[in-house]
Structure formats: structure tokens, C-alpha cells
């Protein structure tokens, strides 16, 4: 049974204007999948359907054998605590320290009261430090997050996802706000994580070349439809043209002149 299975996922924010149209795919444990597609193709929406950060309208998402759409509040919490998420803008609490932000990843395992009181076990704290060490930011553990560079903040975000003990990590354009060097550091870390810990990664990306370099498999989205799904080696020039297409060139030009 695949770790993640998406069946006929359809989603619209306004009636009559579907953002995702009948999206189906499945992901095996340990895969590193890149999702590419032009702006507005529905990449972020699709990723957020996987852990139901946006409601699933039609179709099903099965994660680890559970129907995500059918879960009640508690069931959804159980699903989410095994799914890490990494964001373009890191989404940390800027005024809190690095270590506090990392430990936030454990809330899914705690009662509300334990969380509110900030009760973390020694083992959890130790794990947090190990992860910071692994991502090379242990020396910043007690700094406030707003004092770190973007690349460092993103590594905190990855630590927060990893401390969840996730089976899968969803990354929504993790390197879109970073310079080339930091981008490479982040992508290398994600790759290491997936190989070393066997954690499945689904990464939304803008850059086709990055997707080809790092992912085993690429899913191409265009206007809410899957137009490519296969090994990244098979993603040919003509297919990227199809995904980003001549049309996008015209659309871009329109955007600039408007």
C-alpha cells in the first residue's frame, strides 16, 4: 500500500472555478517528489489538501491507510502530527528562540494543557538539539528567530518538521525566498533527510532544474491538472515547454504591460 494516495481530488474556492481538476497520484514511502508548474497552477492548494489545511471538496486523500477527508477533529490531529510542513516564509514565531520554535513541532503529541504549560521531556529537548546540530545551527539555539538569516530560519523550520517524527514532509516552495547558496544548503538537507531517515518528501518548486537535480520523480501541474508524472530523468525539454508553455510567455508579457 502506498504511503499517500490521492484519488480524483477536485477543489474550487469559488463555485465553477476549479483550482484542482481530478488530480490522482500515489507516493511510496521514501520517494522524493518535486511538484512543478507555473504560478497559479494549484501547487500550494494541492499540497495543503494533503494534510487538509484546505478542505478537500471532492475526491479522497489516503495517508498511511487513513482517509484524511473523513477524519474528525482528533483523527485529523493524529494525521497531521505525522506530516511535517515547511513553508516559503518559514512561518516561525519570530520573537521566540530557535529551540522554542523547534519544540513547537511536538504539540501534536501533547495534551492542550501540557502544550500551554510548555512541558517538554528531556528526550524531546535532547532531540531538538541533535536536529539543530545536524542542520548546523546548534550555536544559534538560544537566539531569537528574527535575528537569523533566511536560510538559517528555514533550517529551523525543517527542524520543527523533523521533530514531529514525520513519515512525510510537505515543502511549499522552501527556497523561493533564498539566495542560490542558501537554496543549495536547504535542498541538500532535504535530500539527506529523505535518504538517511527514509522520510518521504513532496516539494513544490518553481525551478525545473532544481527539481531535476534533486527529485526522483516529478509531477507537473498546469491549470489544476496533472500533465506530467514520472521519473525526473524523463522530464524532457519539450515537456517543460508544455508545462510552462508558449502561453505562459504571452501571459507573462501581459502581466508586465498591464
Amino acid at each position: 500500500m502506498p504511503l499517500l494516495e490521492v484519488n480524483g481530488l477536485t477543489k474550487s474556492y469559488q463555485p465553477g472555478n476549479p483550482i484542482l481538476k481530478d488530480v490522482s497520484f500515489s507516493v511510496e514511502a521514501g520517494e522524493f517528489v518535486a511538484v512543478i508548474g507555473p504560478s497559479g497552477a494549484g501547487k500550494s492548494t494541492m499540497l495543503r489538501c494533503l494534510n487538509r489545511m484546505v478542505d478537500i471538496a471532492e475526491g479522497q486523500v489516503f495517508f498511511d491507510g487513513k482517509d484524511v477527508g473523513a477524519q474528525n477533529k482528533k483523527g485529523l490531529r493524529d494525521v497531521r502530527k505525522h506530516i511535517g510542513m515547511v513553508f516559503q516564509h518559514y512561518n516561525l514565531v519570530p520573537r521566540l528562540t530557535v529551540i522554542e520554535n523547534v519544540l513547537h513541532g511536538r504539540f501534536g503529541y501533547k495534551s492542550t494543557l501540557q502544550g500551554v504549560l510548555g512541558r517538554f521531556t528531556e528526550a524531546e529537548k535532547q532531540k531538538a538539539f541533535e536536529l539543530l546540530e545536524k542542520l548546523g545551527i546548534a550555536e544559534h539555539a538560544y537566539k531569537r528567530c528574527d535575528q537569523l538569516s533566511g536560510g538559517q530560519q528555514q533550517r529551523v523550520g525543517i527542524c520543527r518538521a523533523l521533530i514531529q517524527d514525520p513519515k512525510i514532509i510537505l515543502c511549499d516552495e522552501p527556497i523561493a525566498s533564498l539566495d542560490p547558496n542558501s537554496s543549495k544548503v536547504i535542498m541538500d538537507h532535504l535530500k539527506t533527510i529523505s535518504i538517511e531517515f527514509g522520510i518521504t518528501c513532496i516539494v513544490n518548486l518553481h525551478q525545473v532544474d532544481v527539481a531535476k537535480d534533486y527529485a526522483n520523480r516529478v509531477i507537473g501541474l498546469k491549470k489544476g491538472e496533472v500533465v506530467f508524472d514520472g521519473p525526473s530523468l524523463l522530464l524532457s525539454e519539450s515537456f517543460t515547454d508544455e508545462i510552462y508553455g508558449m502561453k505562459t510567455a504571452v501571459e507573462t508579457r501581459e502581466l508586465i504591460t498591464v
Binding site: 494525521v79 513547537h104 501534536g108 514531529q164
Partner: protein, 261 residues
């Protein structure tokens, strides 16, 4: 294209400026307010103030009394503000789009806030005076109600700003609602909220004098009493103590702000 935008903006600014000038003249004309004659009255008023509002030895004898009332008023303002802040925090969490539990609660809380904010403190004093009579509870409530409205709105903005991404991230980890509020929203927004509370304490100490005149409590009542008996020396002394205490509180809260922000 940019040039036309700039030209348009410049034109708009000019029109706005002209509009303000025209409006000023119009309102002066409607209210029969003469700039020149009001300016002429200034020296006379100065002379009157200088000769009547002098603190003398007799007035100084009233100082302990005044200080007592002043301290009472200051503490009432602080109490009204902090208790209002607690209620506002709750209303703001319910009312903010990022942290609200459901739409109905959110709408109710925003309505309560807007109602209490848009009725001026003076009006609240008079309304509450009718139902509670002349005592210190009335003054306290008048400040309390106005403060709830203002702080709820300020807190909602603070929360929306503070909560931008982290709420989404924590929801995605499976955190519960109160975990998110207590560990992401409050820590991020608290310094800003404390700053608003300090601002409100300053404002309320000033309004407390006026509210006191209307509701017959605290330092305002004392001011009113000596004013009506034309004991202007004491009035002057009261005014000076109020001004000094407000300045003191302002200095204090500037200090606190520096530390927390």
C-alpha cells in the same frame, strides 16, 4: 505611464490641500469664529490666568487631600484599564480572523467592541450616571467600557499581524487551538499589546479627570468643587498635580516600552 500616475497623485494632493483650506474657512464662517478676535483675546486670558491661578500658602495646605484623591484616581484608571485589557484580549482572540473559533462569536465580539468604542467616554459617563448614580463605580465603568472598545480593536490588529504564518504552521503540526494561541499568538503579540495598555492607562488618567467632573468622583470632583466655589488657587494646584502625574506616568511607560519591545 508612471508619469501620469505621479501627476494624478500630485493633483489629488493639491485638491486635498485646497479642500482643507476651504473647509476651515467654511466652518469658521458657519460657527462665527473669528480668528483675529480670538487671537486678540489671548493676552487678556493670559493676564487673568497669571493673576488668578497662583498657588498660595493656603492652597498648599490642601495638598494632602489633593494627593489622596489624585492617587485614588490614578489607581482607578489603572484598574479600569488592566481589567478591561483582560476582557479585550479574550474578545480580540474571538474577533480576529486568524484565531476566531467561529463566525458568530467573531461578529458578536467585533460588534461589542465597535459599540463601546464609538460612544465617547463622556456619553458613557452620563449614561452610566443615570443607572448607577454618583459614585466611584460609575467613573470606573465609564473608563472600563471605553477602554474595552479601543483595546479590543488594537489587539485584533496586533494579533492579525503577529499571527501571520506561525498559526498556519502550528495548525499543520497538529497543535490544538489553545496551544497555538498561548505559544504563538500571545508571545508574538504581547509586547505590542502591553504597549497599547500603557497608552490606554495614560489616556485614562487624563480622561479620569473629566469623567470625575461628570460623575462626581476622584480628582475631577475636587476640581469641580473648588472651581465652582471660585477657589482658583486650589484649582491651579490640582491642575499642576494632574499634569505632573501624567508626565510621570508617561515617562514610566516610555521606560517600560523600551525594555519590552
Amino acid at each position: 505611464m508612471n508619469e501620469t500616475v505621479l501627476k494624478k497623485r500630485k493633483f489629488q494632493m493639491t485638491m486635498l490641500f485646497l479642500g482643507v483650506i476651504v473647509l476651515t474657512y467654511l466652518s469658521a464662517w458657519v460657527t462665527d469664529y473669528g480668528f483675529v478676535s480670538s487671537l486678540e483675546a489671548v493676552p487678556g486670558a493670559m493676564v487673568w490666568m497669571a493673576s488668578n491661578l497662583l498657588v498660595d500658602g493656603e492652597a498648599l495646605g490642601k495638598l494632602p487631600d489633593i494627593m489622596g484623591k489624585l492617587i485614588e484616581t490614578v489607581f482607578m484608571s489603572i484598574a479600569a484599564t488592566t481589567i478591561a485589557a483582560a476582557l479585550s484580549l479574550f474578545l480580540a482572540i474571538m474577533g480576529s480572523k486568524t484565531t476566531m473559533v467561529n463566525r458568530a462569536f467573531g461578529a458578536v465580539s467585533r460588534f461589542v467592541a465597535s459599540l463601546s468604542r464609538n460612544i465617547p467616554v463622556v456619553a458613557w459617563s452620563l449614561i452610566l450616571l443615570l443607572s448607577f448614580g454618583q459614585n466611584s463605580v460609575t467613573g470606573f465603568l465609564a473608563l472600563f467600557v471605553g477602554t474595552v472598545g479601543f483595546l479590543t480593536r488594537a489587539f485584533i490588529e496586533t494579533i492579525d499581524e503577529a499571527a501571520l504564518g506561525s498559526v498556519e504552521a502550528l495548525r499543520a503540526t497538529g497543535a490544538t487551538y489553545w496551544q497555538i494561541v498561548s505559544k504563538a499568538v500571545v508571545p508574538q503579540g504581547l509586547p505590542q499589546m502591553v504597549s497599547w495598555v500603557l497608552f490606554m492607562i495614560e489616556t485614562n488618567i487624563r480622561s479620569a479627570t473629566l469623567v470625575g467632573i461628570l460623575t462626581g468622583t476622584g480628582i475631577g470632583y475636587m476640581f469641580d468643587m473648588y472651581y465652582k466655589t471660585m477657589n482658583y488657587e486650589v484649582v491651579a494646584l490640582i491642575t499642576i498635580t494632574i499634569v505632573l502625574s501624567v508626565i510621570l506616568i508617561e515617562l514610566l511607560s516610555t521606560r517600560i516600552r523600551k525594555v519590552i519591545l
